[in-house]
């Protein structure tokens, strides 16, 4: 156990698996697979495993994702780290090939692969393409890939290990806004299931469901609300597909109030799916969504930060819903 950043935790999981499997591949573009943390050895996948297995490529994210898919089809485990700028450049090959090939081949295709898709949502000033947080929906609608979005260094490690060992293609979303998050993470390898939501706090007044980059604000709001006496059940979705309906339904059966929180655009944000699943299964509950408006994030910090859901927004919405 040691304090680790998100990326250190992830690379630790990857390093372990690459040591186990000498065929395993890592493809990157801008982000060298290097991380360090005080008291632990520096991880540098490129140095350790060499340039035949770990490659820095030109600016072609579609090639990166396709390469990993082809490696999988040839029987090799493979992971690619797609920087957020290119996280839709590779959309078609994941949606139309990786997602469908198991079905289209009648179960024959081998795809032990992971698409590590960076998302932003974090940077005021960068505007539109560099501050958006939206791919959760795009990737979660695809059948045949598992789409997960960890929100803590510990889950990041456990879910990366699980994703690499999973024989299915996994879209592993990395909200880059969590880059600086530090927490105690076990040093040994472990796996975290790819299909289970995490109940972060239990409560009976309201269920608040978030995921990925939005989770820190959900937890902040939960703390504030609890201080004010509201019993909040805060759920971290973790897996968008498959979605853990059972945990969601059980919670709202109890609380009868469901608030979803997304940094993704409102229309068809993951929260819409959460509400729909619960509404199909729980009668008489009350529902509300907090999400980024259906607008690209503007550059100006004044505009951007006002639009991105934060703990204050969540607290106010929860009070309104329950009150």
């Amino acid at each position: 156990m040691a304090k680790k950043s998100w990326m250190y935790a992830v690379l630790e999981a990857v390093q372990y698996e690459m040591r186990q499997d000498k065929n395993m591949i890592w493809i990157f573009e801008l982000t060298p697979p290097v991380a360090s943390t005080p008291g632990l050895p520096v991880i540098n996948l490129e140095k350790e495993f060499g340039r035949k297995r770990v490659v820095n490529t030109g600016i072609d994210e579609n090639w990166m994702a396709s390469c990993v898919l082809g490696a999988g089809l040839a029987g090799s485990k493979a992971v690619t780290y797609i920087p957020y700028q290119g996280n839709c450049m590779c959309f078609q090959v994941i949606q139309n090939h990786a997602g469908k090939l198991r079905s289209m081949t009648g179960g024959v295709a081998s795809m032990p692969i992971v698409f590590l898709l960076e998302m932003t949502g974090q940077t005021p000033g960068f505007a539109g393409q560099h501050s958006d947080y939206e791919i959760d929906t795009y990737y979660a609608h695809i059948p045949g890939v598992k789409t997960v979005v960890p929100s803590t260094p510990t889950d990041a490690k456990g879910m990366m290990a699980a994703a690499i060992r999973d024989p299915n293609p996994v879209c592993y979303l990395y909200p880059a806004g969590l880059r600086e998050m530090m927490e105690d993470v076990p040093n040994e390898q472990f796996t975290t299931p790819l299909d289970k939501a995490a109940v972060r706090t239990t409560g009976s007044d309201i269920t608040i469901v978030g995921s990925g980059g939005g989770m820190p604000e959900v937890l902040k709001a939960t703390e504030a609300l609890q201080k004010q006496g509201m019993k909040v059940e805060a759920i971290d979705l973790r897996s968008l597909k498959p979605m853990d309906t059972e945990t969601l339904v059980k919670s709202v059966q109890k609380t009868k109030h469901l608030l979803t929180v997304d940094q993704s655009y409102y229309t068809l944000c993951p929260g819409a799916e959460v509400i729909a699943r619960v509404a199909e299964n729980v009668r008489g509950a009350r529902f509300k969504r907090v999400a980024f408006p259906d607008a690209p994030p503007p550059a100006s910090p004044e505009m951007f930060l006002w639009m991105r859901p934060n703990a204050d927004h969540i607290v106010a919405a929860a009070k309104k819903l329950v009150g």
Binding site: G70, A78, Q92, N168
Partner: protein, 407 residues
């Protein structure tokens, strides 16, 4: 069989006519009376073959096998056409490969198609896959069943023609999209290089693939990383309803290889031995770690872009060189000219000239191929349909997904 007695087509080598079925008569008209021309041309092709010398050195059984593959593909095509026209219950469709057989055959003859998966060379195919599949070693019976969506088909009825695949012989399979497969195929090559394997990754693609953004991505990355990758571009002059000059500024697409500093080879796609020679050179290069090759095979498809079950001649979705389609895009003279250089005839005549086969032996091989194809479709006809609820399988490796269509 009655067609043997009623054969109307006159050819130089009458023995081989005996296996022409009535349903192929119209189709064969293009070749009719062209026997003399064919053998001249095939001599020319042979002479050419002297330059790329690999094929000449092959043992007789390997050469014979290539002829067998060509006629197996051809008879698979012809039998399927018959099914479509005559059997109202038949549901399969096909993107026919007749006319292009020498390309798949020559390339796959240079590959490793048997053994454990981690030693097989891999083939990525297209929306026009059945010829590639047969050449790579896919079982014709199971493929016929798949193409008619049977539960015991090659892919359990999930694939149909546009997604046929067979890991056991390294046939990664068909892909209905134009472009992505080429890039994906470089990923397999990347994996081979990473694990120090001698395998190679081969992708087939049409002239239509040149204009896709994927063309650049596949070749540039393969070249930069010196991947064991071979791009076999089958230039049959058309992508669907457009001549390739609408999407490519060059006469020889292989010229594009210059940019990537890799070999770009133009080869006569009607002559299986020339195709083999080019493929063998590329495979040797790839295995030796010298990187990718772009092979452009000049070839032609005899039929329309695709054939649908229940098709009638003269309509879109039919096969045979229907007058309608020809007038709208392929000049009849062009079709006829290419039929004079039929890959079956060129291979056959070359092997007879080389003394590898007698005419009688060649006929026997062709008769066996015909029999195999007919039996494959007959077997497929007997296979069970899929169970509806199996549609929820094979989304992930494990389990089934929930039904959602019932609310």
């Amino acid at each position: 069989m009655s067609e043997l007695e009623h054969d109307e087509v006159s050819r130089e080598t009458p023995e081989s006519d005996q296996i022409a079925s009535p349903s192929r008569r119209t189709f064969l008209k293009g070749v009719a009376g062209a026997g003399a021309a064919v053998s001249l041309i095939s001599k020319g092709a042979w002479a050419n073959g002297e330059i790329g010398f690999w094929a000449k050195d092959l043992p007789n059984d390997k050469l014979t096998e290539m002829f067998r593959t060509i006629v197996r593909i051809r008879w698979h095509e012809r039998t399927m056409v018959d099914k479509m026209i005559t059997d109202p219950k038949y549901r399969g469709y096909n993107h026919f490969y007749a006319g292009q057989e020498a390309v798949a055959t020559g390339v796959c003859a240079a590959l490793n198609n048997k053994g454990p998966f981690d030693q097989l060379d891999l083939v990525y195919s297209t929306h026009r896959p059945t010829g590639h599949a047969i050449a790579k070693g896919v079982d014709m019976k199971k493929m016929a069943a798949e193409n008619d969506f049977r539960a015991t088909g090659l892919n359990g009825g999930y694939a149909g023609e546009m997604h046929l695949s067979d890991k056991s012989c390294g046939f990664i399979g068909a892909d209905g999209m134009i472009g992505p497969g080429h890039v994906i195929a470089t990923g397999s090559a990347f994996a081979f290089r990473a694990r120090g394997s001698k395998q190679v990754s081969v992708v087939f693609g049409g002239d239509g693939t040149y204009a896709t953004p994927h063309f650049h991505a596949a070749l540039n990355n393969a070249a930069l990383l010196q991947l064991p990758f071979i791009y076999v571009l089958e230039n049959n002059l058309y992508h669907q309803y457009a001549h390739y000059s609408y999407s490519c500024p060059m006469k020889d697409i292989a010229d594009a290889a210059r940019t990537y500093r890799i070999p770009g080879v133009v080869v006569d796609g009607q002559d299986v031995f020339q195709v083999y020679n080019a493929a063998k050179t590329a495979v040797d290069r790839a295995r030796a770690g010298e990187g990718p090759t772009l092979i452009e095979a000049k070839t032609y498809r005899y039929y329309n872009h695709w054939g649908a079950p229940g098709a009638e001649a003269g309509q879109l979705g039919a096969f045979g060189y229907d007058p309608l389609a020809i007038s709208s895009f392929r000049p009849e003279r062009e079709v006829r000219a290419w039929m004079q250089r039929d890959p079956v005839d060129i291979c056959r005549n070359t092997l007879i000239n080389w003394g590898v086969l007698t005419r009688a032996q060649a006929d026997e091989i062709e008769a066996a191929a015909k029999k195999e194809a007919i039996e494959a479709f007959a077997w497929a006809d007997q296979q069970p349909f899929c169970k509806p609820e199996d549609g929820l399988k094979n989304v992930f490796v494990e389990g089934v997904v929930p039904a959602r269509q019932f609310g």
